[in-house]
Amino acid sequence: MTNIDMPWYLELVIVAFLLFGALVALIGSWGLAKLPDFYTRLHGPTKASTLGVGCTLIGSLLYFSHQQDGVSVQEALVTIFLFATAPVSAHMMGKAALRRRLKGIQGTRNMPDR
């Protein structure tokens, strides 16, 4: 890893993005492991993991834009792709779970009976 004279504030911003992203993604996966039924588990990955990885990618974008000449936009493409596809895959998995008649936990309101 080569670190050619990076100003300290930029370094601070990148570090903040990387750590915040990692923490948020960890909370999302923690939710996936601990929440009680499938429908609540669906919330962790769709929101937290996507934002966490998005933040990591933005940190990487800032880093490589400084290390190499010009702006490296490719990470931004992956971020946009992730944010566009996460709701779609969550929707499909939710539909599949409804079709398989998965039960919600006790106290789930208005459980659809399909």
């Binding site: 909370i27 929440l35 609540t40 919330h43 929101k47 929707h91």
Partner: protein, 168 residues
């Protein structure tokens, strides 16, 4: 009478989409040269021509400016929703009151409904699960459902009204 292949629409069904594909290609290779611009334009013409039979009809974005404002609101809401969901995950699970509710749609356009469903999935504690095309409702699962009518009103005010304005 012109045969179909004489008109430019036959060869270039979506000019804006072709331009977008060319730009995307340039961003992907991360190298702005004339050769790559030509290759991108060729792909931008070839891909819509080969696949436009699969597409639904085009969505009309009438006003781009509210779209930008909508995206900004969405960005702030994604951050806010992540804090809310993170707090709910970290607290013990017995405090959760999950529930389903169905959201009556006012939008008609397929593309607008897709964007609304994605927005619902990305924002506070809600995931859209099922779209009922006959009743025109979305089935939404909320991580913490207390005030059903309030949630519906919130989605209507915050996301659906701006979307109606954009796609009208």
């Amino acid at each position: 009478m012109n045969p179909a292949y004489r008109r430019w629409q036959y060869w270039l069904p979506r000019p804006l989409f072709s331009l977008f594909l060319a730009l995307l290609w340039l961003l992907m290779v991360d190298e702005f040269s004339a050769a790559h611009a030509l290759l991108g334009l060729a792909l931008g013409v070839a891909i819509p021509f080969a696949t436009h039979g699969f597409w639904p009809e085009e969505a009309k974005i009438k006003r781009p400016l509210p779209l930008l404002r909508y995206l900004l609101v969405l960005l702030v809401d994604i951050l806010r929703s992540n804090l809310v969901v993170a707090l709910r995950i970290l607290r013990p699970a017995r405090h959760l009151r999950p529930g389903f509710f169905s959201y009556p749609l006012a939008l008609e356009d397929d593309f607008a409904i897709t964007i609304l469903a994605s927005t619902i999935s990305l924002t506070p504690g809600t995931v859209s699960i099922h779209y009922d095309a006959e009743a025109n409702t979305l089935l939404v699962h909320a991580l913490h459902l207390e005030d059903e009518a309030g949630m519906v009103a919130d989605i209507r005010e915050r996301y659906e009204k701006p979307l109606e304005e954009i796609f009208r």
